[in-house]
């Protein structure tokens, strides 16, 4: 058995006006929580649609649970739970009816699991879906995906509208039940704090291209913010520099690896390194995806992207 739940190779999806996904190569290990991050319009949802066979790729290929989404869509869907970004369900159905409707499609459906999640996520089962708040709609969608007992969960913004208590409960449910049973979670989200809490792998996408894919632990160990002061400091340094910003007498460098080596080089240039501090996922994400050139004029953001592809 392949140890990857999802792989894509040079996946491309072009629409007439947009290159939604542009040569994406992903590796999502089995049994992991993979945080798939990107700004609005970065190509996250299109990627998910390609993985589920909802849309066809312009070029490249994808494998989900070792199956091809173009040919084996039904087999993939039997083993995959999905929470879509739009959270649209039949408005007139109650949550109980939606549960009844959905379970008829799955052989692996667990009635006990459904009962448990109804209690833990405090889902109102008798109200029509149209009368539910966004948070409760999200919970119903999550319930339908979780009770399938799927090998792979693909969650597109699964926590929108959830209050912190339920969000925390959901993260526990995912960690205890799904991952405990060897499942894989592919989590697309803007909630970087929740991704940081649960993910062990992270992929960051921008304009359909993968900027970074690595273990979260490695990213957090390697990325550093270095603050230095000195004459004649260069705004752009060795390849590991993601961004360099001048703030008064100080330069702030974000490096993707070998922070100590880079700090040593700055010192060799006569600079005083005042601080080397770790970055959280949110800061790293912002550094990688900020629109304007983080470095000096003339040194395009593309440079940073190119650098990161070597991580």
């Amino acid at each position: 058995m392949n140890d990857m739940a999802i792989t894509t190779d040079g996946l491309v999806k072009h629409y007439p006006q947009v290159r939604a996904v542009d040569g994406l190569t992903l590796r999502v290990p089995r049994g992991s929580v993979y945080g798939f991050l990107g700004r609005n319009g970065a190509g996250k949802t299109t990627t998910i649609k390609l993985l589920l066979g909802l849309t066809r790729p312009t070029a490249g290929s994808a494998r989900v649970l070792e199956l091809d989404p173009r040919r084996d869509r039904v087999a993939i869907l039997e083993r995959t739970g999905y929470v879509s970004e739009n959270k649209r369900l039949y408005e007139w159905m109650t949550a109980a009816e939606l549960l009844c409707f959905t379970r008829s499609f799955y052989r692996t459906w667990s009635h006990q699991a459904a009962e448990k999640y109804i209690r833990r996520l405090e889902i109102p089962m008798r109200q029509p879906f149209k009368k539910l708040s966004l948070g409760n709609r999200t919970k119903v969608y999550l319930l339908l995906a979780l009770a399938q007992r799927a090998e792979l969960l693909i969650l597109d913004e699964p926590t929108s509208g959830l209050d912190p208590v339920i969000m925390d409960e959901l993260l526990h449910v995912l960690a205890e039940d799904h991952l405990g049973e060897g499942g894989t979670v592919f989590l697309s989200s803007h909630q970087l704090s929740e991704v940081e809490q649960i993910a062990d792998w992270v992929g960051i996408i921008e304009q359909g291209k993968l900027l970074l894919e690595a273990r979260l632990e490695d990213i957090k160990n390697d990325f550093r913010l270095i603050t230095a002061a000195g004459e004649g400091l260069q705004p752009f340094g060795p390849p590991q520099v993601v961004s360099a910003v001048q703030a008064g007498a100080f330069w702030k460098y974000v490096v993707s690896r070998d922070a100590e080596g880079f700090a040593a080089r700055l010192r060799q240039q006569g600079a005083t390194v005042t601080d080397v501090s770790p970055l959280n996922l949110r800061q790293i994400f912002l550094e990688l995806t900020r629109k304007e050139d983080p470095c000096t004029p003339g040194n395009g953001g593309e440079k940073a992207v190119a650098v990161l592809s070597h991580i």
């Binding site: 649609k49 589920l52 909802l54 849309t55 066809r56 039904v74 087999a75 869907l77 039997e78 999905y82 879509s84 739009n86 649209r88 369900l89 039949y90 408005e91 007139w92 159905m93 009844c100 409707f101 959905t102 008829s104 499609f105 799955y106």
Partner: protein, 242 residues
């Protein structure tokens, strides 16, 4: 289960069409059966039966057309309009399952509606006249249903084509009006007979007029047309990108 969902979504409409069609059919059967020329003057009983047939076909076909439009608009196109198509297509079933489960349920509802209307109307005729003039009358279910099925299937297809229930319904209505008018215009102008779904309805004279032929070819032909639309819908739906 998808058939259950379809029924739950459409039952209000189905019951409305059923009440409309049955009450109209019964009312006109009663009227036809109690017309003054019916009894005592030696007129053949086929007269009131013919009045009943013609009335039922005219009014019935209008109601059935509306039923076909309404039920067709509840099909796959409605899923796009409601935004539920993504949820539906991420369930582990082939796309053709959803197309045919929806279409068969709608066609069954349409058939039951038409059959009940014709049978209730026929029962009224039997009740008022004590003895029916022609036992062929219930066969009128066939032309009325085939006509309705053509409208229903066309609408079902159009909603999938434009990915919108209401827009599909409007387009379908336009095509039906055009298809009913065009043969008449062409016939008047050039004396050429174009096929029309009305041919099937006219053929219902077989039930009441001795010597009239049942339009087997037209009925079969329009049955095939009605079946071609869900096939075309399947073709579209299997290639649709969400």
């Amino acid at each position: 289960m998808y058939a259950w969902k379809w029924w739950r979504e459409s039952r209000g409409r189905i019951i409305t069409y059923l009440i409309l069609l049955v009450s109209t059919a019964v009312l006109f059967a009663w009227t036809a059966a109690t017309l003054p020329f019916r009894s005592g003057n030696g007129a053949p009983k086929v007269a009131e039966a013919e009045v009943w047939r013609a009335t039922l076909m005219s009014l019935g076909s209008i109601i059935v057309a509306f039923a076909g439009l309404g039920l067709g608009a509840s099909g796959i196109g409605g899923e796009f309009e409601q935004g539920t198509v993504e949820f539906l297509l991420t369930r582990p079933r082939r796309r053709r399952y959803f197309v045919w489960a929806g279409w068969v349920t709608g066609a069954a509802a349409l058939f039951i509606t038409v059959a009940l209307a014709v049978l209730c109307s026929f029962a009224t005729l039997v009740y008022v006249m004590k003895s029916p003039s022609n036992w062929r009358m219930p066969v009128m279910i066939v032309p009325l249903f085939v006509f309705g099925a053509v409208v229903y299937s066309l609408t079902y297809f159009m909603t999938a084509l434009v990915k919108n229930g209401r827009a599909g319904l409007t387009l379908s209505l336009g095509i039906i009006v055009l298809d009913l008018l065009l043969p008449v215009v062409v016939h008047l102008g050039w004396r050429i007979d174009l096929p029309s779904p009305l041919d099937v309805l006219v053929g219902s004279r077989w039930a009441t007029v001795r010597g009239a032929h049942f339009p087997v070819a037209a009925t079969l032909g329009w049955c095939l047309v009605a079946l071609a639309f869900p096939l075309a819908t399947q073709f579209l739906f299997e290639r649709a990108e969400v």
